[in-house]
Subunit: 381 residues, 2 copies
């Protein structure tokens, strides 16, 4: 990738055999490169437009042809909304076409900054220097008082989780409810820390009208928030980056995948899991990213889930690695398999797996903690 | 729909015959109603959680079963990000499931407000009291000077278009470039008005980091902007509503469909065109919505395109109607068909159809204006 290249996008096409000729694919690739940047132009104008024009990097013809297009940094570094419009705006509507990979160049890594904390920073904040982290969820969520959520938080923190997160549908029509919930959960966290010596972060769900999100996030951080949960696909990737770039929002950002199935569900359209849960939220600044695990009823194929994990953590991106959080349907007995599939730089995230424990959530957490401890010991023997 | 119901969502499932039994569908419907709102709960807690719980409205079993769920206003009126997370958050990842319809209740219509101008307001601003409006696009776009765009604007305005829009990939890393482009195009609009007596709105593309969008939009309006173009799916539906709700952003909002194919491309996943281009942007406040026409190479099936048009304009939604703008591949000779398919409350939007005219863009516009005039005369005979 040259210095002036902002990113290289890979598109997978699904074409009939007679359309998938080398000549036709090359023509399609050139149409994408022109159509997604300068639009149309006649020969006389091409010289002036050259710096803005994308270029065809490669065309691989087989049953699912792959086209790689390099976009100049100039056309994709303004902001992430523009990046999405350039890379997969009009062309997303061009039939059976899927954005399967994005390779980010150094100019974009610098521009969008990526995780503020990354895996190492989150480990420092939790005091968990090595091994997987454990995260739990409030269930039920809507209609439960802040005091009750605080009690649930205390039980889970005492049990030994490193992070507790809100449910993603928990909203705050009146922002004061978020501030009070935060207060109750921070008190619970402190009480548990006094007993266990361990820290438990609270990823409070940031919701509200778009024009209030940054103010709300800054206020929560001033109030002592230790992490923020954010439905980045519902509010838009650019807003995730706005949270990341704000100098006063100095807590880890936990990206939640709500709405993601609309993007990755079809194998012939949309955006691949590795781009949707990996490259894009890492670029925009998520420190942890939840995505469907390969184990539960809401699940990704194993290869996709592992590709997400690689996209979140690989070196050479010019960005700190973010924590993969394979989620949904996680039970304590799966931990050895999770570690085998994803390594130990991973967050074990359990909701019903904890709450449905026959003798309560505390014992639910403890079952996870014991299995984690055993599994990690087994790994290091 | 009861007063406390916020909206009714219709999901289309694609299931194997043995799974599509009435009993199984009813169970799935109840899982959606519980899972997307209160999460999980035991019987003892259900009374307190009742106001937040969605309810199964109907289950229609056939080859593509439809499930209708009513969500309490309480759970979806906080903000549009929360609405998306509740209605199609986790459940979007639950296999072959598509959000095909949304019926909006009066509480939500009031909360999110819908179009500020609507069709009638846009007609007043353009002075076009009846018949279709004509919109044109800058081609090429990237790398063209503001002065040249101003000249292109003048030619098109003189030709008789009611609106000129930026290309959706035209961004402004430095906001001053947008202000200068606006100045050049407003001058061109004024010059043309002096000659023709007609007004031409300029839908300038609003781009930038999320935290700057509202400030940029307010500044453009102060500078005299007459309309704003916005990639609402790239920046997020909540940001479109933030533009709508801002008291100082007093110009029509033109919603651009960039990225939309990722949502509607597969017939088994994602979001239907009528929800994606109709119900949602109308609710969030778009005055005009572009979507793929049924005519070009980037196209929707006719039934989908017409369903979008109905969702944008139907009475009874408690919202002003928004202008449908079927786009892509529009040529002058198609106008009679467009009017037959969409009626005369429509915007004819042409890019290459104007620029590729053998003797220049002015004559390209004139060809559209003449055909429009003839077609409208034919309709009123």
């Amino acid at each position: 990738m040259s210095n002036s290249t902002g990113l290289i996008a890979t598109y997978q096409l699904t074409l009939s055999t007679e359309k998938a000729t080398d000549a036709n694919l090359q023509k399609l690739a050139e149409q994408i490169a022109v159509g997604q940047t300068i639009g149309t132009a006649n020969a006389g104008e091409m010289e002036a437009l050259q710096p803005y024009l994308a270029e065809v990097v490669s065309v691989t013809s087989h049953s699912n042809p792959l086209i790689k297009i390099g976009f100049p940094a100039e056309t994709v570094k303004s902001d992430l909304g523009t990046l999405l419009a350039v890379v997969f705006g009009k062309i997303s509507m061009g039939g059976q076409i899927r954005l399967v990979d994005l390779e980010i160049g150094p100019q974009l890594a610098e521009r969008y900054a990526g995780p503020r904390f990354g895996m190492t920073g989150v480990r420092e904040l939790t005091g968990a220097a090595e091994g997987p982290l454990l995260m739990s969820i409030f269930k039920p969520c809507l209609g439960v008082s802040a005091e009750t959520l605080g009690e649930m938080f205390y039980t889970q923190a005492l049990g030994g989780v490193n992070l507790v997160k809100d449910d993603e549908v928990l909203s705050d029509p009146d922002f004061e409810s978020a501030r009070y919930r935060l207060e109750c959960c921070l008190q619970a966290a402190d009480m548990a820390t006094q007993e266990t010596g361990q820290k438990t972060l609270y990823a409070i769900n940031l919701t509200g009208p778009a024009e209030q999100l940054l103010h709300r996030a800054r206020t929560l951080v001033q109030d002592g928030a230790t992490a923020i949960l954010f439905n980045y696909l519902c509010y838009g990737l650019p807003m995730l980056n706005a949270l990341r770039q704000d100098p006063d929002i100095t807590v880890p950002l936990v990206a939640h995948p709500a709405l993601a199935g609309a993007f990755y569900g079809s194998p012939f359209h949309g955006v691949s899991p590795q781009v949707l849960f990996g490259t894009l939220p890492r670029l925009a600044g998520a420190d942890l990213v939840l995505f469907p695990s390969p184990y539960g009823s809401v699940s990704l194929p194993m290869a996709d889930a592992q590709a997400v994990s690689v996209a979140l953590t690989h070196a050479g991106a010019g960005l700190k690695p973010a924590f993969p959080v394979p989620s949904a349907g996680i039970q304590a007995e799966m931990i050895p398999k999770i570690l085998a599939d994803f390594g130990s730089d991973v967050v074990i995230n359990a909701g019903t797996g904890i709450y449905d424990h026959p003798i309560g959530a505390y014992n639910g957490v403890q079952a996870f903690v014991r299995t984690l401890s055993d599994s990690t010991a087994a790994l290091t023997m």
